[in-house]
Symmetry: C2
C-alpha cells in the first residue's frame, strides 16, 4: 500500500520551495497590477489516456501541458500547480514514476508543484491538476472579447493529435510527430504570454476540443458569428490532415485568437519573427451568432461530429 | 451523454459573478498584507463515499467541507472553489444534483464556485475540489510551529464520523449525530479564522486522518515530541467513543492546535465565549520526536492501527 506520507516526502524532496506539507499552500502576493488566474483539468484513465501506450513520463508531460495550456490561453504565465492523484493498487509504480516525472518536468518550464492530494482508487488512475498563473490585469484575454471584423487565427497545428490518437488506438504506424502530438502536446506558453501583451488580440482560448467546437464557444461567448473559410483552413493544413479532422480533432492544444484586422499584418509579422512560424488566418468574426462555413466565397454545409471533452474517443 | 457545455451553462446560471466559462478564472487581488492559500482534496467513489448511502446533497456538503477544512486549518477564510468531476454514465442525474447542490451550499458559506472541469468516467464518480482562501499573512498557521511546552488541543468531536461510518457500512442504527458527522462534516470555518488571529496559537492543522496520525504529522513537521495524555483525552470523549476510535477514526474534520501554555487559560475562556464549547487539552509538546502516550502519569504503549487517507476503510 502506498502511503500518502511517503509520496508527500518524495515530493517535498523535489520541491525546493518547501510548499508541500501543510493543509494548504500559501501563495506569494502578486504586485498591484498583476492578477492570479487559476484552472483545473482532469485526466482519466481509459477516457483521456491508456497506460498501455502512455508511459508515466508521457502522462506527466500531457497532464502538465494540458493544464498550462489553459493558463497560457488567458495570456498569463504559469507559476504553480497542485496535483491530485487517485492510484489503483496495480499502478503504484506507474504513479510514483508519474509523480517524479511531473516534478522534473515542472522545473523545465519554471513551474512549482506546491501541493495536492493522493488517494487510493478502486481500478483506474485519475489525475486532477490545478494550475495557477499570473499576468498584468490588462494582458488577460477572455473568450468573450471578439469584435466584428476581427480575423480568426489559429496558433499551432490542427489534427496532429487526432492522427496520433488513431494510430495508437489501432496500433498503426504513422509519423512520430502525430503520435508525439497526442502523447506530449506542448502548451503554447511563450506564445500565450506574448499574445496577452498585444492590444489587438481581442479574444483568446486554447483549442482543446477541436477547432469547430472551440470556435463555436468563442463566438457564443462573444455574442458574435464566426465565418470559417474552408479554403484558408485547407491551405494551412498538413497534407495528412483532412478538413474534417482539422475541425473535429481535439487535444492539439494550440491557441485560437481573434485579432483586430487593422493590426493583423504588423502583428503577424512580429509573431513570425518571435516564434519562427505563422499565425494562421481561418476566418472572420461578423455580426450574428453561431458558426458558418464558406468555400470558394460561397456558404457551404459541413456536418461536423460533435467531439465533446467526454471521452467518447477512447 | 451529458455535455460539458450544458453543465457549464447550468453552473454559470448559479454563479452570480460570471467566473465560469473561460480557460481559467481570474482572481481579484488581495490587499497588501493578505495572502491567498490554496488546497486540493479528492473524493473517490467506493474509497471515500458510496452512492448507496450518500445522497448527492450529502456528497456535495462533504466534498465542500472537507476542502474548506483545509483552508480553515491555515487560519484563512475560504472564498472560492473549483470543482472537477468525472461522471460515469449511470450517475448523470446524481451528478447534476450534486453540482446544483454544491452551488447552493457554496452560497450558504459565502464561497463562490469559479470554475472546474467535467469529464466522463468509465465506472466511478470522482470529485476533485480546489479551495482558495485568504488571510492576513501574520494570521496564517502552519503545522511546523509547535513549541516546547505548548498545550495540544483538539477543537471538535473525535470518533463521531468513524461511528457513523461503521453503522452505515453495517446498516446498523445509531445516533443520527454520528451518521451526520460522517455524511455531512462541518468544517470549523469560523473557529479556524478566529484561531488564526491568536498569537498564542503556534501551530494548527485539521484532523482528517485521525488524531494519532495527524498529531504525529504535526510533531514531525515541528521537529518536536507530542506527549498525548490518555486521561485527558478520555475525559473529553463521548461515552460511545473508545480511546482507540478517538485515536484512529478519521474524517471528523476538527482542528488540532498547539497553544502557548501561558496564554491558554485566557484564550480558552474567550473561545468558549465565542463558540459555546470547549477547546480540549489532550497533551503537551516536548523536546524530542515522535508521539508517546501516558496514562495515570506513566508512559503506556497503545497499538494504533494506521489509518491512512487511502480508503482501506471502505
Amino acid at each position: 500500500m502506498i502511503q500518502e506520507d511517503k509520496i508527500i516526502k518524495a515530493l517535498q524532496a523535489t520541491s525546493t520551495d518547501g510548499f508541500i506539507g501543510d493543509d494548504a499552500a500559501v501563495l506569494p502576493n502578486v504586485n498591484g497590477s498583476n492578477r492570479y488566474v487559476i484552472s483545473k483539468d482532469l485526466l482519466i484513465e481509459d477516457v483521456h489516456f491508456r497506460t498501455k501506450y502512455f508511459t508515466p513520463e508521457d502522462l506527466a508531460h500531457k497532464a502538465l501541458h494540458v493544464n498550462l495550456s489553459d493558463i497560457s490561453a488567458m495570456g498569463a504565465e504559469p507559476l504553480y500547480i497542485l496535483c491530485g492523484i487517485s492510484i489503483p493498487s496495480n499502478l503504484q509504480d506507474y504513479a510514483i514514476r508519474f509523480l517524479n516525472s511531473l516534478a522534473a518536468i515542472c522545473q523545465n518550464v519554471d513551474v512549482t508543484l506546491i501541493g495536492g492530494d493522493t488517494t487510493a482508487s478502486k481500478d483506474r488512475l485519475f489525475i486532477s491538476i490545478t494550475a495557477i498563473g499570473t499576468a498584468p490585469e490588462s494582458n488577460i484575454k477572455y473568450r468573450n472579447g471578439a469584435q466584428v471584423s476581427d480575423l480568426i487565427c489559429v496558433i499551432g497545428n490542427l489534427g496532429f493529435a487526432h492522427l496520433g490518437f488513431l494510430s495508437l488506438e489501432q496500433s498503426l504506424t504513422t509519423d512520430t510527430k502525430y503520435i508525439n502530438s497526442f502523447l506530449r502536446p506542448g502548451a503554447k506558453i511563450k506564445e500565450g504570454i506574448w499574445l496577452g501583451k498585444q492590444r489587438a488580440v481581442n479574444s483568446m482560448m486554447d483549442i482543446s476540443d477541436g477547432l469547430y467546437i472551440d470556435l463555436k464557444r468563442l463566438a457564443s461567448s462573444s455574442k458574435k458569428h464566426a465565418a470559417l473559410d474552408i479554403d484558408l483552413l485547407q491551405n494551412h493544413l498538413n497534407p495528412d490532415v483532412s478538413v474534417q479532422v482539422a475541425l473535429e480533432g481535439g487535444e492539439d492544444y494550440g491557441l485560437l485568437v481573434t485579432i483586430h484586422q487593422d493590426a493583423f499584418e504588423e502583428l503577424s509579422h512580429r509573431f513570425m519573427e518571435s516564434f519562427g512560424y505563422d499565425l494562421k488566418v481561418v476566418g472572420r468574426i461578423t455580426d450574428g451568432d453561431g458558426l458558418s462555413f464558406k468555400q470558394n466565397g460561397k456558404p457551404v454545409d459541413i456536418t461536423v461530429n460533435h467531439f465533446a471533452h467526454f471521452g467518447e474517443r477512447l
